[in-house]
Symmetry: D2
Subunit: 306 residues, 4 copies
């Protein structure tokens, strides 16, 4: 297959302040499925993912992202990327198989923006609740928003240009869109490892290791609208949306989990083939870039991070 190296964002590990509140949010409202775990760590997944889990919640005193992990196609990719990361100047550690639950061996490093990133090529598969022969289109018992899959994550930190360069030059990501400051430098960079418009986004910011959001895929504008009602019915605070981004032209709602970690539901966009020209947004157009119809955004959108 044409896909090799990094296939997709496979895992986001978040810190939450109150596990019961977090589980109510992610299971009952967002509609993720609990795979396993106790009060310390809980492993969740979207219903249409075949891998064991995609979201990990850890009880902690501060919210934010512990790490994000990308799944590669082959074990050999890990060696190649470890070499590249070392050559780029990062310190690379190795996690043995099963050091992360249900996972094959991993490599792990801190990118210039201060975020911990892991790569792995194997994870136990527990299926999407449907048989592999004559499956129905969805399983019984879905509840809440019920996205089919984790889509991307978005982070803030210093030296984002170097981080972006690491993703493109070492991990073979492509830049699909950029928000450009008047001096020509990049304020925000959207990086795709595959046909998704972005698998990770990086924004230049003075504090290292900050988390802006993780995003879940929905299938249509109407599902975005339905998500808005479920968020309202459950008194989940909404940051922005429902609206459509200028960047990536995706339908979106941003909202917060009870610990203040931002979530997004996301639908639409285009396929980011490597031969598709990259797009640039002027910082003066940031309103349109974030909320295309309204051309403005909540102040919280650029300032509240975990």
């Amino acid at each position: 297959m044409a896909i090799s190296g990094v296939m997709r964002l496979g895992e986001v590990a978040l810190r939450v302040l109150d596990m019961d509140a977090a589980l109510h949010h992610y299971i009952d409202i967002v509609g993720l499925q609990k795979v396993t775990g106790d009060t310390g760590h809980v492993y969740l997944k979207c219903w249409d993912e075949h891998d064991h889990h995609s979201v990990i919640l850890r009880s902690a005193d501060s919210a934010g992202m512990d790490y994000c992990a990308f799944k590669c196609r082959a074990d050999a990719d890990l060696d190649r990327f470890a070499e590249g990361a070392k050559a780029f100047g990062l310190e690379v550690s190795e996690l043995a198989a099963e050091e992360r639950l249900a996972s094959g061996r991993r490599i792990r490093f801190q990118v210039p923006t201060g975020h911990w990133v892991e790569l792995y090529a194997h994870k136990e598969q527990n299926g999407n609740g449907l048989p592999l022969r004559n499956p129905d289109p969805f399983p019984d018992g879905l509840k809440g928003i019920a996205p089919g899959r984790l889509e991307h994550c978005f982070v803030y930190g210093p030296d984002s240009a170097a981080a972006a360069r690491f993703f493109t030059d070492v991990l073979d990501f492509s830049v699909s869109e950029r928000l450009e400051l008047p001096d020509g430098s990049t304020k925000a960079c959207f990086l795709a490892c595959n046909t998704a418009m972005h698998d990770i986004g990086i924004v230049e910011h003075n504090e290292p290791g900050k988390f802006h959001h993780m995003s879940f895929w929905l299938d249509s504008p109407e599902e975005i609208y339905r998500a808005a009602l479920l968020l309202g019915k459950n008194d989940v605070p909404i940051d922005e949306g429902p609206t459509q981004h200028g960047i990536g032209r995706a339908k979106t709602i941003y909202f917060w989990d009870p610990s203040g970690n931002r979530n997004e539901v996301f639908s639409g966009s285009y396929l980011s083939y490597p031969d598709r020209p990259a797009l640039t947004w002027d910082a003066a157009q940031i309103g349109k870039a974030i909320s295309y119809p309204q051309r403005r955004m909540a102040e919280t959108f650029m300032t509240v991070l975990t």
Copy 2:
């Protein structure tokens, strides 16, 4: 980027009996855009494609597909695939740059089902009608169904098992789903080169080189419904749909162009990552596989080909 080798279906070249009627169909109703051409050959594209064209219509005495062409990431892929095709036993010819309009050099061969397939890595880009800086989400002046992109093609012919093996073993496609006969052999095979559920489908059939349909992407179930009304308003004959496939769980309508070539509009489905388990459908479930809610299909669906 993780994408290498064959990126996507880039071109379908069709024979049509009456060019004026064909242009009315593809431009005014389907909503493709005419790029260039005269009565002999006309080059069309979907509005959100950056490459020069994706559909070619040729005036002829019989309908059907002249060839389909896939775009590869790099020129070197062509050499690698030419080697592989020869090793597989196919005769491979080379087309020089510009032998096909606006195209870099190509390799060309006939797969075991009798279909002509071409590979190329370069094609002139004429954009999607939007600027690369601060673009709106769609250009002005779209008309008809107006799909954003060509999605896949579907063909019938003998020795489909060998053809499928060629696509998987030589061109690195993956099998995402199969329709299986009671003897365990494959009646229909859905082959993905990338994250689309399939870029080509192949059905076992006694006549070689037959064309079943080419498919265009739409963004939502409601756009499928809107397409149904536009087809009805223009008296375009509908074969099946609006409905949802069991296979690939995509929303769909099949309809015919004035020459009897089948078109599809297609929306939804899942991402066919290489680590997603392949699905199998029993031939006894073919009704559900094709038209999931109705569990039956028009007789024409399996029998009318060009």
Copy 3:
């Protein structure tokens, strides 16, 4: 309010062959709510109806409709319509309050097509599951297709012209659309008492008292599509759709309950104000009238009745 006389279809009383199967169909799949009842009679309602119930199922040896009942605005309307019905030549009986469960007094008569029709002005209200102060847009716990309200019913019988004349001249309905035979007579008549495109439809047919379908309202084309998937997932036989009627331009799916009574989900259409011109469809256009995009319909659609 501008509304007086007959406000809407309030009740359809159906015969079912197997109550358990019927309850599984109407509660788990269609998503009606059980109000009360035992194996002999069960009373159901759509979630957004404030009145006590709208669908009654009765165990019987043959399927079909016992009667349909319309709710009038005021008790005095019953007297007025009783007078009119008698003057029209119908025999009118009176049912005392509580003779029908949770209902005020009723008048009852048989229209020329052989269908029993009842009128009432009062029914106990048990609410739509939401408070009357600061309500959410929908209650918790909806399942299945979950239509908000019963929309219309559709019947077949002889002397439909007289029946239609009764509805227009005595009960103040308007004809919104007609399907006309080549001799100028009416094959099917769509009758509105209010802004719905029709509250009852009547088709000329040789057998008296036949039931074609009752219809439930959904809010969007995408909800129609979702209903199609739920019907498919539960192996409910579909007669026609998802498609859009030419008549009334509503999105639709027809399907059968386990006893063979036809149901419809219905969305869209226009408001049938009394000053809106009536529409006529030629019998030669019946395909387009029933299934606008496909311009054909299942043979069962015109022939299977209960």
Copy 4:
């Protein structure tokens, strides 16, 4: 038919500052159709209305609403309502047929909030662009948002309680929902003459005769989303939305015409039969009442009027 008296909002007459800009807004972006008129007065309509026009634009030095007009079922209704209005204490004038373009005779009066209201029973019909025999579901050539019909208007002024009492007691409207202040008085009142959730809304406000918005019907959440993109693409300022009202549970976007008159696109809601219980919203819940998912609204929403 059950409908008598006031059938619907039939006409909104607006003042605009720059007719060319207004026509670009209402014709090219909102997608109304120009019926007739010159630079002084232009008559517009929604495509699916059969009456001659529904929106009148008048060049003036200040924006706002000249009057709104409701269509009654019968000429005799005008006499009855004139009597009632006089008995209520209003001064009633009469406009002869053709004094308003294409209109039968009218009665005209100023309600306590300072708004001019007219009633008429006849208006020339110029059709919806479709034949009355075998019509397609929509005409060719629609552009912009293209709502099918004018839905309601919304006004601000003093003594709104008296105005609401006039609409209910004299014109037979019903109160479907109210926003209630802590002292039990009504801040905003939603009044229905028919099955629409409201045909006019009235908000208590110190200045008389102020206009908040007129609203156009769309058929689905996805059409609301599409409207948002068209507004964004044309740089039309958006006040609120896309979102869903708690009140009336309708999907909505509020935006401004170039003169500052607010428009709304509106979809969904329920049928306001006279036996449906009225709903009350606490002023403390105004965020949820206006923008259910976000539970907040732009400050402009309550303060910017014309």
